[in-house]
Amino acid sequence: MGASLPSKEANLFKLIVKSYETKQYKKGLKAADAILKKFPDHGETLSMKGLTLNCMDRKSEAYELVRQGLKNDLKSHVCWHVYGLLYRSDREYREAIKCYRNALRIDPDNIEILRDLSLLQAQMRDLSGFVETRQQLLTLKPNHRMNWIGFSVAHHLNSNASKAVEILEAYEGTLEEDHPPENERCEHGEMLLYKISLLEECGFLERALEELHKKESKIVDKLVYKEQEVSLLVKLGHLEEGEALYQALLSMNPDNYRYYEGLQKCVGLYLEDGQYSPDQIDRLDSLYKTLVQQYKWSSAVKRIPLDFLQGDKFREAADNYIRPLLTKGVPSLFSDLSSLYNHPGKADILEQLILELERSIRMSGQYPGRMDKEPPSTLMWTLFLLAQHYDRRGQYEVALSKIDEAIEHTPTVIDLYSVKSRILKHAGDLVAAAAFADEARCMDLADRYVNSECVKRMLQADQVALAEKTAVLFTKDGDQHNNLHDMQCMWYELASGESYFRQGDLGRALKKFLAVEKHYADITEDQFDFHSYCLRKMTLCTYVEMLKFQDQLHSHAYFHKAAAGAIRGYIKLHDSPPKSTAEEDDNMSKLLPSQKKKMRQKQRKAEARAKKEAEEKNEESSASGVSKSGKRHIKPVDPDPNGEKLLQVEDPLSEATKYLKLLQKNSPDSLETHLLSFELYTRKQKILLALQAVKQLLRLDAEHPDSHRCLIKFFHKVGSMNASVTDSEKLIWSVLEAERPTISQLHEKSLFEANNSFLEKHKDSLMHRAAFAEILHILDSNRKSEAVKFIEESTNNIVPRNGALGPIREWNLKDCIAVHKLLGTVLADQDAALRWKVRCAEYFPYSTYFEGCHSSASPNSAFNQLRKNSENESPNHSVGGQNVGSITSNGKLEAFKDLTI
């Protein structure tokens, strides 16, 4: 240590430390100031004061004091330790580790520093370092329970589960026979379950089962006990015992699908792919008929047979399943059945079945073959189910007629409007979808679910301001939609980011996507406090599970969407940079002096307005900070609320690369990851990395149109490169020459031949034809008209199927929109694009994109009809221009304004 303090001040120093540990920061500050009065240069006191200030949100002061303290006392492990803690609080873990190591160099056996170091090593997944540090801690303080547990977990994480078991057994050897005392039963029980899961993981199944039985009385969590036991029994091949135990578990919870799966495995009737032989189906059917008698109230036992039954048996079981739910009026019935639509033939059976129910109820008010009268609502729920059915099958016209009939039947059921909204969305009319979602919302203003669904539809229709206004109805007062960011409301940020992107507002789009990325960074940091907490609580199985989840965190779909959106935004920013100040000045200089003056005045006025708005915003933020108790709750003001600074980034491609690397690591099985990789690295002129992207695309789906596009584009570009000059280029060429023979699509073929070969295999698919045409144009721009003609000659065939209630054609809306964009941009043929649009308007009459005759873009659409009805019901509204394009945020509530009771 440096200069030591007299005993009075030394006691005050201890008080600072204790106050810090118990979060009594003001008291600690007071003690520090008392010491510094007499010893103003005392390094350790300066450091501790800084650390205390850091916990009081005075960060810049904190760093200043800590650095000063360290400078004054470089040989103090306390100063280094404190510096490390400061870095840690800013998530600068590598710097923090350096500081801790410096501290340990001075005081190698300091328990506190070793413990803090181990936390950082766990956070950074430096697992071998973690094992080493935990071993030191155990050696120094073997009397502490947590050190045994920590050492064991460290070995488990470092892939040495058997060592972890040894350590836990040694730890158990230190305990009394009557352990645990009553207040530690849960902790000890959790530790035992963890140990047994380690034994299972090591493959010591017999030993694990034996240990489980031996320790039964000490394990508090009986459910996990049973589940662990049955897992071990099945793995050991004790199927009869396993079967009995699964039955016991089912009696506890007959709606757990995993128990049914386990039971099927025990009786030898489970296949991962669900492809059962007729004999197996019969035996399964018998099994579930028995089970349904035991668990009458369970939905699962009635629903699972629909997955494996076929043909007439399926129809019968589905009929029995559906009828009571229609009578009861279960709105989620279609969601429950929707996975069956992926099974061949079942959708047709369901269609016939439900149509028959509909017909019978219409005619007689009864189900076929039944004498009981159905309540009037059954017809409505049947229509509701049919609407969703036809929506799923892409027959939007029929779906809409069914849902309209249901609405006419009972206009006050909210779910009907929600489903109508969804049908219109699938049909391509996003504006009308938003309007009907708003209708649903207005029928129950207290339900946040319908509010959120409405907000989502508004964002999909690019009505961002209205969506924000609607979302604010459920956020905290005064917080506006910033509350959604604080509460990590990612779906909202993703949907609004995508909307801004579609509208070309890159700044705001990037702002939203990066906000989502920040949430994931925060979630990563959230695990930090649990490295010590879970060891204390002994919830070790859950802790290890959390660590594994954290390792896969960025695989989540929302992160993927945000990162992909950000990358696209940066690429677009790179391809079309915003006008620089120099260009604007250049334009300015061409103006006449008087015009210059006007322009400058206008500019100054705009700046003044922006400044005033910013000040007002700050005032609002300040005002909202003062709560009931009068204390000011200062929130940091967002320095870049509209993402304008994000647009000023020096190198958009290197920003995009940061997110791409995360996608490559966490979503390697997504085609989109490697498409973005290809686009990015071709722009960065990184030939080898672009090649890697192409190889990944071929690995995942060599026949995908986008894989084909990237493959041919890559080799076309490489083929047009100049001869190698530098060492770098020579090496790249060597790699390319070594790699090309491994690509089967190009075996002894020119690029033209490869393109033709690709088409031969996929000549009936619209998207493959479009890819072929695009590549043809790229390889030879003189053949553009040929490419365009080829696309226009594509045929939208009718899909053959059994229950024909109106045709279904092959093409879907999304693909047709993509082709339209291709014709308008890459192939740059506006006439062809227009012809395509007219043609697709016939196929997709509800699509606003193609301005179909039933879309919001047309006067005859459902949406405009709705608006007309609203106008008729409100005589006070002025008719005509005033309402064109306007959407009230309160929907039909306007119509009830004059209502009197």
Binding site: Y25, P142, H144, A170, S629, L688, L731, S734
Partner: protein, 110 residues
């Protein structure tokens, strides 16, 4: 010192939020470690064997082997730049492939 990043006491309006704050704060509370019976502990410590020695020796042999491989410094730079890798990673991969730059790159492109 197991501190926490707690700032000035947060002002909360409702009882629920107060309870939430309290629960979160408790997460990082200072708690004394449980103590164990020391005579039994000594026996347990003796049973922990040091098997790390053999692993360490194996790793040292591997590192020695790699260090003997001759590589071209320019190749390291090219690989690091073209594949956007850390130079240490590029160098190690090159050593693992006996200095063959093409083979190393093809490995990294997997």
């Amino acid at each position: 010192m197991e501190g926490a990043d707690e700032g000035i006491e947060r002002v909360v309006d409702s009882k629920d939020l107060q309870q939430q704050s309290k629960a979160f704060d408790k997460l990082t509370d200072r708690v004394e470690d449980r103590q164990l019976d020391s005579s039994r502990v000594q026996e347990a410590m003796a049973s922990i064997a040091a098997s790390a020695e053999a692993d360490w020796q194996a790793m040292r042999m591997r590192e020695k082997e790699l260090a003997a491989v001759k590589i071209n410094a320019a190749d390291v730079d090219i690989i690091a730049n073209e594949l956007e890798l850390d130079k240490k990673v590029a160098e190690r991969t090159l050593r693992e492939h006996k200095g063959d730059a093409v083979a190393a790159i093809r490995h990294l492109l997997r």
